[in-house]
Structures are given as structure tokens and as C-alpha cells.
Amino acid sequence: MSRAPALPIRLLALPAWVGLAAAGWAGEAPTEPGADALRREAWRAASLLQFDHALHQLAQLGPAAGRHDRAMRAAVLLNRPPRSDAVVARVEAELRELLAGDPDDEAGLLAAYLLARTAHVHRTSPDWREAADGYRALRQRAPAHPLATLAATKLALILLYDPAHRRPPEEAWAEAEALAPTLAEPAARALLHLTLARAYLYYDGVGDAALRHLQAALEAGPSNENVHVNTRIGVAETARELGREALALDAYARFLDEAGVDHRRHAVEVLLREHEADRRSGRP
């Protein structure tokens, strides 16, 4: 049978209760659940371009703001109008400080990704070498992190579109190709294969490499429905031009199954009908 604690023991709880009540009434520094709600609201706002609202939420964190909140604030400031090189430089300074603080925690990884991005696409005068090094370092540090996974495709873009080369050198293709097997996330793999396929088509036109990557992208599964359907028709057209008839016909047929109302439907139906007529008449 349990007994109620002795009175002195019960009295010990009083200061704790007073403290908790005071924190709740004062309503200044957000309690942990409150801070969490503010953060999530800030992230949600930033994910919908509502940057001012996101900053307002983060500002309300006050002393509860941590390293990750600072990194997120920098990410939002990067795009809050008016943008300028001075803003980018200030954001980079903040991100470098965070990275130096701890390169391996969530804030450090976020800072590392954003620093590579600023060097790649945010500065008026990009520094692709710095960006590529940043992407590589992030991938080495935390290869499975979603931002590091995405960094693989960003690195491939730098390797494949350096304007100094009319066509990328073989080692650039090789490094970009080698990224694919390292990606466990199917969406990331599909994206990298699509990026490679597009580069091959841009530089070389239709060829086996482009087809191989289009097929690999389909197998991994593009994230957007329209990209999936476009990739399917890409496989069909590329295979047809390469004389891979069975593969082309299969892809066209799947396209008709997968696509809804589509401006290419009639052309594909005509093509399949003509092929069937040729087959029946024994024409090559």
C-alpha cells in the first residue's frame, strides 16, 4: 500500500512549481515546445517564400535560438529582398562562423551546403572551384545527409557545364558518372541521371550514354509526374533514333498508359499505328 510523502518532502516541490508557473506566466523566453512551434512555422513560411514572416518567427526565439536557427536565418536573409553582394557577403560571414564552430552538426552541414551554393550561384561573380570543393567536402563529411545528396547533382552541374570547355574533359564526365552509385536515395539518383542524360544530349546529341542515363533515371523514379512522363518519351525517342526498336515501342506504349491529356499523344499513336501496319505488311 502506498503512502503519501511526508509533509517536508511535499514542501520541496513548492519552489519547483513556483518556478514553472512563473515561466508560464512571464511568457518571455519561449519554452521548448513553444520554440519548436516557432521554428516549424518559420521553416514552413520560408518553404513558401514568406521570408519576412519566417524571420519574424525566428526573431521571437530570442535566447532560445541556437546554431541551426542562426543558419536558417542566414538562409532566409540570402533571398530576402533587396539582394546585393553585400548581403551575400554578410550571410557568408555568418555561415563561415557556424561552420568553424562545428562542421559536423546539423547547422554546420547546412552552413557548408549554403556556402557552396553562394559560391556557385548567389555571388555576382561565382567561384565554381570553391563551390565544387565545398560540395565535395560536404559529401565526404556526411554522404547520407539530404543536402549532401543533393550536392552530388550540384557538383555534376559544375563538372559538366564549365564554360571554359567546349565539351567537358573526360575526367569531368568520369567524376560526375562516379557520383551515381554513391547515392542511396532513389530521388537523388534519378536527378543525377537526368542531369547526366541532359548533358550528353546537349553536347553529343542522341547516343548510348544519354539513353543509359534516361533509363536509369526512370528506374530510380523522378520525383515529379511531368518529369517522369517527359523522361519516358525521352527514352522512346532516343531509343528510336538509335534503332533500339523494341525498347522504343515499349516506352511509347508506356507513355500512352501514363500520360493523361497530352499534346504528344496523337503523334505517338500515329507512330505506333504506322509501325504496326509496317510489321503486318512485312516492311522493315
Binding site: 536558417m72 533571398n79 552541374l157 557545364y161 541532359r198 518529369v227 517527359n230 518519351i233 499534346h263 499523344r265
Partner: protein, 536 residues
């Protein structure tokens, strides 16, 4: 009381009367609603649009009254604003203390404006539209009740915004372009009501009309034209004539042309304005240009419509948005026809007629975040886009409906989007690309092609240098604009990545947005690479 005190008494009485009247008015006002959204116990929702056409005002009013009958506590106000002042008006409304509850999209509604001022509709469009009850759409998700399932396209921002991965509007109509022909005038001139069936017939008819007008000293032309209307005709003809060459530079082999791909192909020397089937398209333009009234490139669309209504032109090319105006209230019969295909003699660039399946539903409406009654605005939007009301829109305003199962009325059956066609080739106007530098060059050079004193050679000589420079400018502008889009996406992505730890849906959005961003970066880098290595 003495007469001397009378004026003072009258003055005091007047003052007291005014005071009492003012007090009564003030008390009366205090009884009125505090906000303009509530009146006499009824809530008011306001819808603003720029469809200022003769037929549309009574239509919108009738829909509003019908909704009020179903919901007596609601009053629906419709504000129609002329399209010329619409962008400015809309801008003032975005931050106004009492903005409209529902607003028409399009006309430069930016991603930022959508994100900041409109309510996302993703969850709502996944639910059935209750106003489709009793039909086969009763249990269908609202988005799937539209002919395109609100899939839109990468550039569409009126329904599903691919850059924000969110639905912000639902559409009410689609647009196609056709040839309107005055059959009575045609018969008077040719002795027959037979309409032209191909390009050769069309040109022959034009010559007959020209001859008739000369002989009878009448100011009649084959086509009533304005720059905008001529552009519709010229563009479609060019897009057919360039179908085959466009397939050769289809960078993604996805049978979908884009201005970006055509621009890169030009920079890489894959096509030139003065060679092959592209050159033959200019010749067809020149032939068509002779059928318009003199000075048509300087005319406005109202001028052209007036000529047609006044029977000073046998035909006019315009879109379904003008169907009501051009088909009704005429003392003559009008037939609607497909546009003439390019001439057989130069048809080696064609694959076939243009498919219109890619036409995006338009006339979308979104709900303002600061709407005082968003739930009623949403309900009215559902009502407006129910099959029954969309069919009424088609019937009353002669518009192409976009709700599945609603059909164009017989008068505009010829406007129904053509599905048995092929993908379009490119347009030399590059109308929505970069900073529209090519578009301006085309507008200022075109008279050298279509004027009686002009020629294909003179036009090409004048076009060559400015076209090349303008296209480079537009590619650079495209690269700048696309960079701005994916820069902005970085902030969205890191936020989604943080959210994804607790919300699986955010992870899905993260990868979808990453894919859109990175493929956009491929396009951007290709454009810059093509500029760097283009032939000077």
C-alpha cells in the same frame, strides 16, 4: 417673444436641428457593420476580374445571384476592371485594407505575390466539389474535375505552380484561335458560301476579294487585321512550318519545344532565318500579309473587329475570347474555321496540324489570404467551377469550358481544342522569352516583309543583325531570370529539409523541388554555355 429675438431663435433652432440630425446619422452608422465584408447580417464576398466583355457582366451577376439564393446570408459583389489598368489596380488591392476575396490570376501575377497574398489550395483541390453532387464528378477530387487535372506545365502559374509546388487557382476557360468568315459577304463576292479548305484556296479567295473590291470600288479586304491578330495567324503558320526542324534541336528529346531550346539551337547554328523551311515560312507570311487592310500592323484589335462587324473584311483571325463579340448581333451569318495550313508547295517542314491538347486552362481565380471570409470565398469558387456553372459560362459567354463533361455550345463547337495534332514547332517571335528583345525586333521589322514595297529578301537583310543581337540579349536575360528562381529556391529547400525530419510530406516536397531546381539549373548552364561558344 419680440421680433428682434426671432433671428437668434431661428439660428439656434437650425443649429439644434443640424446637431440632432448629425447625432441620428452617427447613431445610424454605429448600427452598420464594422467591416465592409458584413452588411445587414449578410456577409459580402467580392470577386475581381478583368474579363470586361459585353456578355460577361450579366453572366457573373447571374452566378452571384444564384449563389445568394442558395446562401441567403451571403452577398456576392463582382468587380470587373479593364485589362489595361488591371495590373496597377491589382497591385493597389494586394495591400489594401479591404482587398477582394477572390481575384483573377494571370497578367503577371508573380510567384512572390502568389506565396504572399494567396491562400494555397492544395488540400482543398484534393476534395470533391460539393456543387458537382448528383453528377459523375460527385466523388472526384476537385482538381480532377478539370480537363487537365490542374497539371498545367512548368511555366504555368495560374493553377499549379511548379516553382512553389502548390495550387493557387482554379480555371474557368481555355482559349483557341480560329478564322471567322462572313458567309453572306463571301457569297456576295464569290457567288458561293464555300469556305476555303487549304492555304491555296485561302489565297485564291483573297485575290478574288481584292479583285471584287477594285472593280466595285469598295473598301473591302479579305482579312481584317491588327498586329495582335496577325501575330496569332503568323505564329501558328510558323509553328507548323517549323515542326520538323524543331524536332532536330529538341534537347531533351521530349517532343516539346521551348523558346530556350530554339534560342540555343540558333546560337549553335542549328537553324537560320534565311534557310530551309524557316525561310519558306516568311514567304507564306508575305502572301498572307497582302490579304489584310493597308496599315494593319499599326491597327488595334478593336479596329480590326470594327472592320469585320462593318462588313469591310470577309474574314478575321481571333481567339475564342472574341467569339461572342464576333458571332452575335450581326446582320450576317458567320462561320468559324480552322486556320489555313501552310502551303503544300512548302510543306516539307510540317508534321501535321498543331495539337491543342497542351493549351492550358486559363481564367483562374485564387483566394486572397486577407479575405475576411475565406471559407465562403472557397465555397463560391467551388460553385463557380462546378460543371453546371462552367457549362453556363460556355453557353452564355461562348467560352470554351474546362470542367470535364461541360461542352462548347454549338455556336463555338469549332473552337473545341484539337487533340489529333502534332507538337508545335517554334515561333520566331520568342514572345515570352528573356526581355522580349526578339519580339520587339520582329515587331519593328515585319513591315519590310508584308508591306507591298517589301520582300522576303529585304526583310531578311534588315532582320539578320538585330535578330542575332536581340536573341543573345534574351538568352542572357533568361539566364539571369532563371538564376533568380533557383537562388530563391535554395532558401525554400533548406527549410523543407528541416521540416522533413518530422513531416514526411515535406521530404517529398524537398525532392520534387530539388528536381525542378536542378533541372532548371541545367537549362541555365546550357544557355550560358551556348552563349560562350556561339558563333559570333
Amino acid at each position: 417673444m419680440t421680433t428682434a429675438r426671432l433671428p437668434a431663435l431661428l439660428g439656434a433652432s437650425l443649429l439644434a436641428g443640424v446637431f440632432l440630425y448629425a447625432t441620428a446619422r452617427l447613431l445610424q452608422r454605429e448600427g452598420e457593420p464594422a467591416s465592409p465584408g458584413e452588411a445587414g447580417g449578410r456577409v459580402t464576398v467580392r470577386l475581381a476580374h478583368y474579363l470586361v466583355y459585353e456578355s460577361h457582366r450579366p453572366y457573373f451577376e447571374s452566378v452571384a445571384r444564384d449563389y445568394e439564393r442558395l446562401h441567403p446570408h451571403v452577398r456576392v459583389e463582382i468587380a470587373d476592371v479593364p485589362i489595361r489598368v488591371w495590373p496597377t489596380w491589382r497591385k493597389t488591392q494586394l495591400d489594401a485594407p479591404d482587398p477582394p476575396d477572390l481575384v483573377q490570376l494571370g497578367q503577371g501575377f508573380t510567384d512572390e505575390q502568389m506565396a504572399l497574398y494567396l491562400l494555397p489550395l492544395g488540400e482543398e483541390v484534393a476534395r470533391p466539389n460539393p456543387y458537382n453532387a448528383g453528377t459523375d464528378l460527385a466523388d472526384v477530387a476537385w482538381r480532377e474535375t478539370f480537363v487537365d487535372g490542374l497539371r498545367g506545365s512548368g511555366d504555368s502559374s495560374e493553377t499549379f505552380n511548379y516553382r512553389l509546388l502548390e495550387y493557387y487557382g482554379v480555371p474557368t476557360y481555355a482559349n483557341t484561335v480560329r478564322l471567322f468568315c462572313n458567309l453572306d459577304l463571301l457569297e456576295k463576292i464569290t457567288g458561293s458560301r464555300n469556305v476555303p479548305e487549304n492555304f491555296e484556296d485561302f489565297i485564291a479567295l483573297g485575290e478574288k476579294i481584292e479583285d471584287y473590291a477594285r472593280r466595285h470600288r469598295l473598301p473591302i479586304t479579305a482579312l481584317a487585321g491588327a498586329e495582335e491578330y496577325a501575330r496569332l495567324l503568323f505564329t501558328q503558320l510558323f509553328q507548323q512550318q517549323s515542326q520538323r526542324v524543331t524536332r532536330t534541336f529538341d534537347l531533351e528529346r521530349n517532343l516539346t519545344q521551348s523558346d530556350r531550346e530554339a534560342a540555343i539551337a540558333f546560337l549553335r547554328g542549328d537553324w537560320r532565318p534565311d534557310t530551309g523551311t524557316v525561310r519558306s515560312a516568311w514567304a507564306a507570311w508575305r502572301t498572307l500579309g497582302r490579304l489584310y487592310q493597308p496599315g494593319f500592323l499599326g491597327a488595334m484589335r478593336d479596329d480590326a473587329g470594327f472592320l469585320f462587324k462593318q462588313q469591310r473584311a470577309v474574314m478575321i483571325v481571333s481567339g475564342s475570347w472574341d467569339a461572342f463579340h464576333l458571332l452575335t448581333d450581326n446582320p450576317f451569318e458567320v462561320s468559324v474555321l480552322p486556320l489555313p495550313n501552310p502551303p503544300v508547295a512548302t510543306s516539307d517542314g510540317r508534321l501535321g496540324p498543331l495539337s491543342e491538347s497542351a493549351l492550358l486552362p486559363s481564367g483562374s481565380f485564387g483566394i486572397m489570404r486577407r479575405s475576411r471570409h475565406p471559407e465562403i470565398a472557397l465555397d463560391f469558387l467551388r460553385f463557380l467551377t462546378s460543371r453546371q456553372i462552367n457549362q453556363r459560362f460556355a453557353d452564355v459567354c461562348l467560352r470554351i469550358p474546362v470542367v470535364r463533361g461541360a461542352h462548347p455550345p454549338p455556336e463555338i463547337a469549332a473552337f473545341a481544342p484539337r487533340e489529333d495534332g502534332y507538337e508545335s514547332g517554334f515561333s520566331p517571335y520568342f514572345q515570352n522569352f528573356g526581355r522580349r528583345a526578339v519580339y520587339r525586333v520582329m515587331q519593328t521589322t515585319l513591315d519590310r516583309l508584308v508591306a507591298p514595297s517589301g520582300s522576303v529578301e529585304a526583310f531578311l537583310a534588315d532582320l539578320e543583325t538585330p535578330f542575332r543581337a536581340a536573341l543573345r540579349d534574351d538568352v542572357q536575360a533568361f539566364a539571369r531570370d532563371s538564376a533568380r528562381t533557383f537562388q530563391r529556391t535554395d532558401s525554400m529547400l533548406v527549410a523543407l529539409q528541416a521540416l522533413a525530419v518530422r513531416e514526411p510530406e515535406a521530404a517529398h516536397r524537398y525532392w520534387r523541388l530539388s528536381e525542378n531546381q536542378s533541372l532548371g539549373e541545367s537549362d541555365h548552364h546550357q544557355a550560358l554555355h551556348a552563349l560562350a561558344w556561339a558563333n559570333p
